[in-house]
């Protein structure tokens, strides 16, 4: 069959698909159908809402984190000070950590934006919040007097000591060369437990703020918040992208997106995100272009589901 007469073509031609229909017609009331449709769907929506309601698990705050998991909070604050947290090593758009960005072969889209939402974890998450206290602890000036090398060493030593302490409890850490780090993280913990850190981190010297970037990143650097997500089957390897808290359907239409994340070698690739997004972009383009793709557009003819759809028509031919 020549290309020009392919019955699956999208082209407008002088054939049955291209001409206005000249065969039999049936009565059809567009507005009536729409009205009935709206009523039926309305009943479905009201019924489903009445029976199943909707999930609403309360948000985690820095306060609830510091209260429920103080050891994790202190360990995280220490990592923020030492520049070893996930956020500190993230790269663009938060900071310029070398070699942190995801790449697609030679293409580095992540670095494209530059550092557009700058975050210096030690200063933004720990030091400046402490400076906002009515009487800023002397540990802050000790920290500021230290060199970069000292900062890193103090934080590393304290991280190490915390991991060896029973229950990782800061109170049970043995003596060592931690500089002002225990005092800084301890004061920050107290501040967070009183609920003062939430506002300070979010607003950052302004009355208004609708931007939760800092608080979210700080929360995510710990193990408490991801642990809650894990329990709620929301993490990536649990297909969390399409899940909701509780037993609710979430964004199930993201199943393919979520699926690609589960496939090796993508799953364990450091460039997983850019790989998955690229694959999805290509698939979406393919879907858009189906009418132009010879093999794909002919499948509906080989697999005759249309026989079922237009059963009446074919029966009465």
């Amino acid at each position: 069959m020549s290309k020009n007469t392919d019955p699956m073509s999208w082209r407008m031609r002088n054939d049955i698909a291209g001409r206005p229909w000249r065969g039999r017609a049936r009565e059809y009331d567009l507005f009536k159908e729409l009205t009935v449709g709206v009523m039926v769907v309305g009943l479905l929506v009201l019924g489903l809402s009445a029976v199943f309601s909707s999930p609403d698990d309360p948000s985690v705050t820095l306060k609830s984190w510091a209260t429920a998991a103080p050891a994790d909070f202190v360990a995280t604050a220490t990592a923020e000070l030492g520049g070893t947290s996930k956020t500190a090593g993230y790269g663009p758009p938060y900071n310029a950590t070398p070699d942190a960005s995801q790449k697609l072969g030679p293409i580095d889209l992540q670095s494209f934006s530059g550092v557009r939402i700058p975050i210096d974890t030690a200063n933004d998450f720990v030091i400046s919040p402490l400076q906002s206290l009515p009487s800023s602890p002397s540990a802050v000036s000790d920290w500021k007097a230290g060199t970069d090398k000292q900062h890193v060493d103090w934080a590393a030593a304290y991280t190490d000591a915390l991991s060896k302490a029973p229950d990782n409890d800061p109170a049970k850490v043995g003596p060592g060369d931690y500089g002002p780090v225990p005092a800084l993280t301890g004061t920050l913990l107290g501040m967070a437990q009183q609920g003062a850190l939430d506002g300070v981190l979010q607003a950052k010297d302004s009355f208004y703020s609708t931007d939760y970037t800092r608080s979210t990143l700080f929360l995510g650097d710990g193990t408490y918040f991801p642990g809650l997500a894990d329990t709620a089957h929301l993490t990536g390897d649990q297909w969390g992208m399409m899940n909701e808290t509780g037993n609710y359907p979430g964004q199930s239409w993201l199943w393919l997106f979520s699926f690609v994340y589960q496939v090796q070698p993508i799953k364990s690739s450091p460039n997983a995100d850019i790989l998955v997004v690229s694959i999805m972009a290509v698939l979406t383009l393919l879907l858009t272009l189906v009418p132009f793709i010879p093999g794909l557009r002919s499948l509906p003819r080989r697999i005759p589901i249309h026989r079922l759809i237009w059963k009446d028509y074919y029966r009465r031919r």
């Binding site: 019955p7 999208w10 698909a17 449709g37 309305g42 929506v45 758009p93 939760y212 998955v276 003819r301």
Partner: protein
């Protein structure tokens, strides 16, 4: 033909000529989509299948999404945490979205197996895919707006994919104010606009005939006088 006949034909059959942009646009619209094509009272006999329900169902669900969304917007994003009525409205917003996507996906597969892009309908297909993609982004921003644990976690996770492709710096999922604006203004307008264009295109082209429909089919054998006699027949 007599000169008289010519004049008569000229006034009756020929399309009126317009000299203004407005008139030309109106003429074009009337030619492409005359009122009886936009709001028809009959449809080809083959438009008798359960599959045609789902496009309309998606529109109906969209109506509820917009209505419940407007009520939520009037009260602000945190209202539903503290109000019983708010929580119920939030539930209707969620479930109309779930139904919307269910209907849309069935509709999409239906149109694929019907190869409904045939006969110059490719733009209908493409606007459909755009509607699908824009709806996904809209739903995503809605999930980010829940201001609860789920939205916190989604924001934390989703930033990685967006940062990896270099858009996270501008479309910042952890910036609630920005996401709120996208979700309640830009994206709903985009969905509504694309769906409107999609439906107008369907009306312009008419519903696609069955695959392999042939001039010899019984349903195409009707001349106009006979056609009138079967019109009342409900299929």
């Amino acid at each position: 033909m007599t000169p008289d006949g010519d004049t008569a034909a000229g006034t009756v059959d020929e399309e009126p000529r317009f000299s203004t942009w407005t008139g030309t646009a109106r003429g074009w619209m009337l030619r492409r989509l005359p009122p009886d094509k936009l709001l028809p009272e009959d449809q080809p006999s083959y438009v008798a299948s359960w599959i045609y329900v789902f496009g309309m169902g998606a529109i109906a669900a969209l109506v509820y999404i917009i209505v419940s969304g407007c009520i939520l917007a009037l009260n602000g994003p945190a209202w539903y945490h503290v109000s019983g009525l708010g929580h119920f409205i939030n539930s209707t917003h969620l479930w109309s979205v779930e139904l919307f996507f269910m209907f849309m996906v069935i509709h999409l597969w239906g149109k694929y197996w019907m190869a409904a892009w045939r006969g110059g309908r490719v733009l209908t297909w493409i606007t459909g895919v755009i509607a699908f993609v824009v709806s996904i982004v809209t739903a995503f921003t809605g999930y980010l707006l829940q201001t609860n644990f789920d939205s916190q976690w989604i924001a934390f996770q989703a930033k990685d994919a967006l940062n990896a492709v270099g858009v996270g710096a501008w479309f910042n999922v952890t910036n609630l104010g920005q996401i709120l604006m996208w979700h309640i203004t830009l994206l709903p307008l985009a969905v509504a606009g694309v769906v409107a264009l999609h439906v107008v295109l369907v009306r312009m082209h008419g519903v696609v005939p069955p695959l392999d429909a042939a001039a010899t089919d019984a349903q195409l054998q009707q001349d106009l006088p006979q056609r009138a006699s079967v019109e009342g027949e409900h299929l």
